[in-house]
C-alpha cells in the first residue's frame, strides 16, 4: 500500500517570498508523483508530475519539485509567490506497477499569501 504525508497543514508566507511545501511518501514499489492545486470551490489542477528521468521537475505557474528517492520526498518549491498562489496544494502518488492510475493523496497544505 502507498501513503502520502504532507508535513504542514498550513503555510503562511509573505508575497514575493520563497516557499517550500513538503511531501513524503511511502511505497514498496516504484511510483509516479504529482502535485495538484485546488482553488476555492474548484476541482484539482495538475501543477507538475514526476514519472522518470530528471529528478527536478518544472511545472506551471513557476512551481518546481525535486524527487528524492533516498528520502522518499517530493517537495514543492516556488522562488517568489504571488497573492494568486493562495490555494490548497495536494501531493499524490500512483504506482505504474499496480496500474489502473489510482491516485493516493496527502491531506493537503493550505498556502496563504499575505501582502
Amino acid at each position: 500500500a502507498q501513503s502520502v504525508t504532507q508535513l504542514d497543514s498550513q503555510v503562511p508566507v509573505f508575497e514575493e517570498a520563497p516557499v517550500e511545501l513538503r511531501c513524503n511518501y511511502s511505497s514498496s514499489v516504484s511510483v509516479y508523483l504529482f502535485w495538484y492545486v485546488q482553488y476555492p470551490n474548484q476541482g484539482l489542477q495538475l501543477l507538475l508530475k514526476y514519472l522518470s528521468g530528471s529528478t527536478l521537475v518544472k511545472g506551471i505557474n513557476g512551481f518546481e519539485a525535486e524527487f528524492n528517492k533516498s528520502q522518499t520526498s517530493f517537495h514543492l518549491r516556488k522562488p517568489s509567490v504571488h497573492i494568486s498562489d493562495t490555494a490548497e496544494y495536494f501531493c499524490a502518488v500512483s504506482s505504474p506497477a499496480q496500474g489502473a492510475q489510482k491516485l493516493v493523496f496527502g491531506q493537503g497544505t493550505r498556502l496563504t499569501i499575505n501582502p
Binding site: 484539482l44 492510475q101 489510482k102 491516485l103 493523496f105 496527502g106 491531506q107 493537503g108
Partner: protein, 113 residues
C-alpha cells in the same frame, strides 16, 4: 475543448435517500475515476471505470456503485445516504494509456442532512 464536466454542482439530500452524480470526461478520454473529498481532507479514491467495467475499487462500501456508458460518461450512485457521505465528489478522466495524468472536474458538493 470542454474539460471534465460534472452535474449537479450542488445537491442536498436527507439520510437514507439515494443520489446519482454524473460525469462527462474530457474529449478523447476513455477512463473515469471517482474520488470523495471530505471537508479539510485530501481526495480518496472510490473506483475507476474503463470499457464500461469497474477496473479498480477503493475502500468504500457497496452502497457506492457506478456505471460507465458507451460514450465514456459515468455515474456515481450512493444508496442509503449517511451524514458522513457529505463531501465534494470529484470525477477525473484519463486518456487511453494515460497513466501519467488525470484531469479533474469541478466536483459535486453533496450535503446530507
Amino acid at each position: 475543448d470542454a474539460g471534465v464536466t460534472q452535474s449537479p454542482t450542488h445537491l442536498i439530500k436527507t439520510r437514507g435517500q439515494q443520489v446519482t452524480l454524473r460525469c462527462s470526461p474530457k474529449s478523447g478520454h476513455d477512463t473515469v475515476s471517482w474520488y470523495q473529498q471530505a471537508l479539510g481532507q485530501g481526495p480518496q479514491f472510490i473506483f475507476q471505470y474503463y470499457e464500461e467495467e469497474e477496473r479498480q475499487r477503493g475502500n468504500f462500501p457497496d452502497r457506492f456503485s457506478g456505471h460507465q456508458f458507451p460514450n465514456y460518461s459515468s455515474e456515481l450512485n450512493v444508496n442509503a445516504l449517511l451524514l458522513g457521505d457529505s463531501a465534494l465528489y470529484l470525477c477525473a478522466s484519463s486518456p487511453p494509456e494515460g497513466y501519467n495524468e488525470q484531469f479533474f472536474g469541478p466536483g459535486t458538493r453533496l450535503t446530507v442532512l
